[in-house]
Amino acid sequence: MRRGWSARDWVFVGLFGALWGAAEMTLGSVLHLIFPPLADTFLVGLIMACIGCLIALCGRLFVVHRGSVLLIGVITSILKAFSLGGVKVGPIIGIMAESLLMELGLLLLPSASYPAFALAGLLAVSWNFFHRFLLMGLFYGAGFFEIATRIARDGSRLFGIPEKFFLLLLGLLLFIRMAAGAATGLIARSIGDQIQRRLPHADP
């Protein structure tokens, strides 16, 4: 049991977990329906990761304890696991990894500062880049990496594109995620401030 946590802290962990869970269950499902499966990683995953970071990092301003973001992630994962449409292993792993990385970011720098929030967002949303590779590796085994490497090599030879181009493209995709994550972290901090001004009693 976590010592020093009041009933208010647990209620707020539950609330922010529910907010993230509701976003995953409603907006996440709609986006997965609208966009084709192959766009999942590049668009839907990025949008959902940013929304998740925004909510969880806002929550950190109201539950000022280490581990609160991770617990918000745990609650969200459980809600997602029991949501309609069966078990979705990918989003559950994604939510847990993102909350863990946000917690790490908040651990490395003073936790209520803008740079800490930016770092937490950057780390968490960057996960989205590695998520599909790791998930495919987990599900399909080592054969996935073998096939992916072979296709990239054959493709570059077929279209006359240097292999370096693929690395550049991957680097660009990672950079977009890092920038979006850092921006999300900063926005979360500023929105959290705005909400705290609205709710003087909720101020911890």
Binding site: M1, A7, W10, V11, F12, G14, A18, I75, L79, Y140
Partner: protein
């Protein structure tokens, strides 16, 4: 969802055994494991097999088979007008079976569990706070959906979404979170009045 009630340790044992089987099995043995997992899912939670009725599932399961056969290795097998790779077909097939097995193992691990049972489990393991938070989250879902709907309608009726989409998005988040926190304060008061102690 209809679920056969098996003790938690049976599910845990089955999950661990299935994962071990997945790590060990190669080639045709994988097909045997897949058949065993389908039977287990049928016995534990027949509704879990609705998974097979989804298009998304088939896309996920057949993608490595098709990509492997079309793009991996020399095209040495002729199927009518299609030339495919025998090596790619074998690799893709084992990847597909492995992925489906893993999905079925996750279904077994979670079969018979519910949010209420999980909350009870947290309480019995001394994680009362986490169980309480999960209960709050689960019961707040419908309230939050309703709040979001009302805030969105208000912003739309005032024309904010059309004129200032980004500002409207920010206002949406601020309004929904503020409303949720106000509701949370009521829950805190109610819990405190009933002598709730998370420790």
């Amino acid at each position: 969802m209809q679920t056969r009630n098996k003790p938690g340790w049976v599910r845990l044992l089955l999950t661990v055994a299935s994962l071990a089987g997945l790590a060990v099995c190669r080639g045709p043995a994988l097909l045997g494991l897949l058949a065993a997992l389908i039977v287990l899912n049928l016995l534990l939670q027949p509704a879990a097999l609705r998974l097979f009725a989804r298009l998304h599932f088939w896309l996920f399961a057949l993608a490595p088979l098709l990509i492997g056969a079309a793009l991996f290795g020399p095209r040495d097998l002729s199927l009518g007008f299609l030339n495919i790779s025998r090596q790619g077909l074998t690799t893709g097939w084992s990847m597909s079976v492995r992925a489906v097995c893993l999905l079925l193992i996750v279904q077994i691990a979670l079969s018979g569990l519910s949010v209420a049972r999980l909350i009870g489990l947290f309480h019995s393991r001394g994680l009362r706070g986490l169980g309480f938070a999960l209960g709050v989250a689960y019961n707040m879902l419908s309230t939050l959906s309703e709040t979001s709907r009302i805030v969105l309608s208000t912003l739309r009726l005032r024309g904010a979404i059309r004129r200032h989409p980004l500002l409207a998005l920010r206002l949406f988040v601020v309004a929904v979170v503020s409303a949720a926190l106000r509701h949370g304060e009521d829950i805190v008061h109610a819990a405190t009045a009933r002598g709730f102690d998370a420790e």
